[in-house]
Symmetry: C2
Subunit: 359 residues, 2 copies
């Protein structure tokens, strides 16, 4: 079954196509690549599995193809890896009409998107996500970035793709941990915005873990719908878009403190959501039973509910560099009830420190 939705951003609106086998559908690519160079950016793992098929579809769509291979993993979401993309484009004398095609997970999508935002001051890019996390979250919405040794996603740009093509058949071969990491973000959408969807995830947890195509297809569609609506309202995160960061303030600190790549992003977000829910309870914002229900669901999806051992000052140092912060105060996304999150800029620092010391 094919599903399609739109991210509505005026003359920068674009479609999100979801379904099995889309990788081979030249008609989805033709409007964006016909008569142009398509530079496929991918990683060594994905390259062998899907690049030849995608290249064939792009060529049928009228593109000349170029392949740019990157090392795999969050530890490589760095300037050094980004520069490999620039170098390959420059050596090929790629001009401004070149389209970058990100084939892979969140790391490939973020690097290729940022490369597109900055190569010759901006060229087009197309997202072809092959992980659940990328299909439900990172490929949609135009956030691109690389990590800095001093903080995750600190260097980047808002640069919307011209289309997202999510081939759900690629999820069949996804490693178990990667599937879980994606489900963490699916869960997030329910937690912050849609209690009914959260109930659906609880009722369908086994089907999701078993990768039933219909269940995954619906989860991806609903996740993208929620994200698209929030992005359409607040593209550059001056307000509501920050809600999508639920679990991420704690999660980014976990990723940075443990070294990028040891915890998958989705795993860190899962533990971060459990912390955020518990801190919401500690702050008297959320009923304890609701937090427990969310934590149970996180665990049921085989995701971590406890963070690694991190000293409170280290937590605070990394959380102090979060992009949502203002005037030295940590901004948090907390829950008022399941399906309803709120941006909190005035959580007492002492209370947060005490909470982290016993987390």
């Amino acid at each position: 079954m094919r599903r399609e939705l739109e991210v509505s951003l005026g003359d920068r609106s674009y479609p999100v196509h979801i379904g099995p086998g889309l990788l081979d559908d030249a008609s989805l690519f033709a409007p964006h690549v016909a008569g142009r160079t398509a530079a496929i950016v991918t990683n060594t793992t994905v390259d062998a599995m899907y690049r030849p098929r995608l290249a064939q579809a792009l060529e049928r769509a009228g593109a000349r193809c170029l392949a740019i291979g990157l090392p795999d993993g969050e530890a490589h979401k760095s300037w050094q890896t980004l520069d490999r993309v620039f170098e390959a484009l420059l050596r090929a004398q790629a001009d401004r009409r070149t389209v970058l095609v990100a084939l892979g997970g969140g790391v490939v999508g973020d690097i290729a998107g940022f490369a597109a935002a900055t190569y010759q001051r901006g060229i087009a890019h197309l997202q072809v996500p092959t992980t659940l996390l990328a299909q439900v979250d990172s490929s949609v919405g135009g956030k691109t970035a690389i990590n800095h040794p001093l903080g995750k996603n600190m260097i980047g740009a808002f640069h919307q793709p011209v289309a997202v093509v999510a081939d759900t058949a690629t999820l069949a071969s996804l490693p178990e941990r990667e599937l879980g990491a994606g489900l963490a973000e699916v869960l997030k959408y329910g937690a912050i915005q849609d209690a009914e969807f959260l109930g659906w995830i609880e009722a369908n947890a086994d089907r999701l873990l078993a990768r039933e195509p219909d269940a995954l297809g619906y989860a991806i569609q609903r996740s993208c719908e929620i994200k698209a609506a929030i992005v359409a309202e607040d593209e550059r995160e001056s307000g509501a878009r920050a809600l999508l960061n639920f679990g991420h303030t704690f999660g980014h600190a976990i990723e940075s403190a443990t070294g990028y790549g040891n915890w998958l992003h989705g795993e860190a977000v899962a533990a971060g959501m459990a912390l955020a829910a518990r801190f919401s309870v500690a702050q008297g914002r959320l009923a304890k039973a609701d937090a427990e229900r969310l934590v149970r669901l996180i665990a049921r999806l085989r995701l971590p509910v406890k963070p690694p051992a991190i000293p409170a000052p280290v937590w605070l140092e990394y959380m102090g560099r979060d992009k949502k912060n203002e005037a030295g105060r940590v901004t948090l996304i907390l829950l008022e009830r399941l399906g309803h999150a709120r941006i909190v800029k005035d959580a007492p620092p002492a209370a947060l420190e005490e909470f982290l010391a016993t987390a």
Copy 2:
């Protein structure tokens, strides 16, 4: 005498203030920095001369100041230097409300502007140019970039400043070569767009070389007016903005081939304009007398009219990576007459190669 104009870009419009002593005028800065952190990005040369005064004005305007010093010169317009800005911002836990203030010439402005475009996916920046080149060209229009070893300004973003404050008193202490480099860009505006202005430059060349404040003030204003009109029409260089690249296709190749910094940007553009005018004649587009008049004026401003010795294949390699190119063809800006340039996408490659072999 104070002069002011606007770059009209809808809700991203901004003022350009031109005049002596503006560095000390807190009222120009207050709308943009009050209650925020102002991170002054400058180079070692400019730091001692102007940073304390600017910091005082920013503090009077209600900002907290932070200073970020960079090494001086085009050779440092690199990722490594850019990363020093990121590292300083992250160590200071600078948030998204931070304003970067570029104090210096084109290199500082380009790096600070690109840092602002990409730090935490985009923060505000203010341009305080202290060289003639930056005042008439690089501080206005939102082009930001760093160089790549394989090509000049290849990595960057369009990111408009919130204001440009050009203190013309800073030009009194400018080294002779830097003054000339700025005059090359002034000349460019006349050559591509305004024959009357070109005549004015001829008539006032001695006053400009003697740095008479009124002459320089008018030259800066007229240059910024021409640039602002072109940028307002074509912000992202899909058309007319490419005209501003007159002399730059040859010029960038000179800079890249000789090693960044050996030729000043304006010097390379001067020789590039002479080449572009001669090639316009060779192509039968421009009268020989007009080309000679332009070359004489370039020489009169004490600027180079001949390029260094570069083998034709090296010329073509660097020109082949120009951002204006399409489908492997070099795009050139050629003159039809003085005051009227044209974007030429179909110059015969063989003719260009032959021309370069004897340039």
